[in-house]
């Protein structure tokens, strides 16, 4: 693979399970050395895409190349160039952390001494050295994910697939996973990351592909996607929730659209960033509304998702949530 070729190139990818269309002709690419975030709710087709790109599943139509190799025609050669880790933390619970890594290294056909040295190195880097000799079933959720990620990295694959790597983790473990992933990308690995967490895509991904019901509905950098939704938003938390109507009336004059009460805060889209907070404080003060907190916020990816799909990212309105889980 030369430096200019895309590490991941997907064209018109289709996959159905019976009458359910999981992917309806999906296109996306990822340049070598970048992180592509595949963002979507449960059942959007993210896991199906990952399973096709990691040779676990054959597509019904379309083409996909990873590291310059076709995922169906060159599947056997491709497996030596990819690593897979994800939400199911596929480690053997009855083996020690060290034995898990050694086994995976040997199955990549590394020599025994090589596999062991690399296992020791990764356990150290992933802060698992103290737990190296314990069965993985004694590990916390965060430790298992780190072991799973270490297993995916043992052969230094040029392309890494992470299927919802932090789903179900506590905030601290999540942050630690993010740091581990960032360290990999800094080292030049191409990463395809699926997530239903907008902040995760925002933080880790160079480019984001938003998919919903098996279709790509948007693509771009985090900033490009946010620009599609438009300007800044003023958020005011009130000392007394009963003042909401008066606050909305007071801010209406300066807002691009009518302010609204959401999640206990009054939100108002504004066109002009400079002076917006001072103006809002003056207006609210004049209306005798007490302010608990006030801030200007750029649109979040959540706003992007609502704007693109008419529904939030983490709720599936059709009730076919967990399609990936049910049919995969």
């Amino acid at each position: 693979m030369n430096a200019t070729e895309d590490a991941i190139a997907v064209e018109g990818l289709q996959k159905s399970y019976g009458s359910v269309r999981a992917l309806c002709g999906v296109d996306f690419t990822a340049q070598a050395g970048t992180v592509l975030g595949l963002l979507g709710p449960n059942g959007a087709g993210k896991t199906t895409a990952v399973r096709i790109l990691t040779t676990l599943l054959k597509p019904d139509g379309g083409r996909a190349r990873v590291a310059g190799l076709d995922v169906t025609k060159d599947a056997a050669a491709l497996r030596a160039r990819i690593g897979l880790a994800g939400q199911y933390a596929a480690v053997d619970e009855n083996l020690t952390g060290f034995a898990n890594l050694e086994m995976v290294g040997r199955l990549y056909h590394m020599g025994r001494a090589d596999a062991r040295a690399r296992a020791t190195e990764l356990l150290e880097r992933f802060e698992l050295t103290d737990a190296a000799k314990r069965p993985a079933k004694t590990y916390s959720g965060g430790m298992r994910r780190r072991l799973d990620l270490a297993a995916a990295l043992i052969f230094r694959p040029p392309v890494l697939f992470l299927d919802e790597p932090t789903t179900g983790l506590d905030p601290r473990s999540r942050l630690s996973m993010w740091e581990m992933i960032e360290a990999r990308t800094a080292a030049g690995t191409t990463v395809l990351l699926t997530t239903q967490y907008l902040d995760e895509a925002d933080r880790l991904a160079d480019r984001i592909v938003v998919i919903d019901h098996g279709n790509v509905i948007a693509e771009g950098t985090s900033d490009e996607l946010k620009d599609r939704v438009g300007g800044e938003r003023l958020e005011v938390e009130l000392e007394d929730g009963g003042d909401a109507e008066r606050a909305i009336a007071a801010l209406a004059g300066m807002a691009a659209e009518r302010p609204a009460l959401e999640d206990g805060a009054v939100r108002a889209p504004v066109n002009q960033r400079s002076g917006a907070i001072a103006e809002a404080v003056r207006r609210l003060d004049a209306a005798d509304v007490g302010i608990e907190d006030i801030r200007l916020q750029r649109p979040t990816l959540d706003d992007v998702f609502v704007a693109l799909t008419g529904h939030g990212a983490e709720v599936d309105p059709d009730g076919d949530a967990a399609l990936d889980e049910a049919v995969a």
Binding site: A76, Y88, L95, H109, A328
Partner: protein
Amino acid sequence: MSSLALTISDTLVLARRNLARIPNQPDLLIAYTVQPVMFVLLFVYVFGGAIRTPGFDYVDFLMPGIIVQSIAFGGFVTALGLSEDVQKGLIDRFRSLPMSRAAVLTGRTFSDVLLNCLSLAVLLGVGFIAGFNFIDASAGEIVLGIVLLLLLGYAFSWIFALVGLFSSSPETANAIGFTLIFPLTFASSVFVPVGSMPDGLRQFAQVNPFTTVSDAMRSLWLGTPAHTDVWMSFVWCAILIAVFAPLAVARYRTVAAR
């Protein structure tokens, strides 16, 4: 390395994995040691007095049969292990690795052979303590019997591999094993002579491969007339492997996690 050498190397890596995880699963170790001992003791001392086996002490009649049953079910650990690998997503990891496509299964069935050797040693040990003796058996016949048992265990490992790959959880594998296959061992000459069974059941028991293999073991270890049982037993094992090994590998290629 050639693809055959890689398959062998992958098989050994996974067989080693299957054995290395056993100390962390005490329940499996019990299944391999304590459970067969309980069965021998229960049958010899509870049923033994009430079952007539003309020409033999019941313990002599029983041991070849109960060893056949135990060894056939030795492969059950493969069904449990594979269904667990499917459920936990390990199969996905293995299928995404540049390893042999058959090695997950050959590794399982190979480690089963080693576990069956352990199981066989325990069973023979408790059998001797309970009074079992080889009768009119040459060293060659004893060894041929052991080879037949291990081959039978190997054949059943492939059956259980298929069961495991079709089961969504170890519990399902357990249900399939013990409602479909376990009763088959009772409708045979494993525990009692088939002559005492009612019409219908008796004819079924006579053609049941468990009867063929149990009778073959008795001819090798107790000197009973062999008829066609010994070579038919090897044919049965070959048929089971020829049918179930390709089915299990085909299922492995397409099986999905969860």
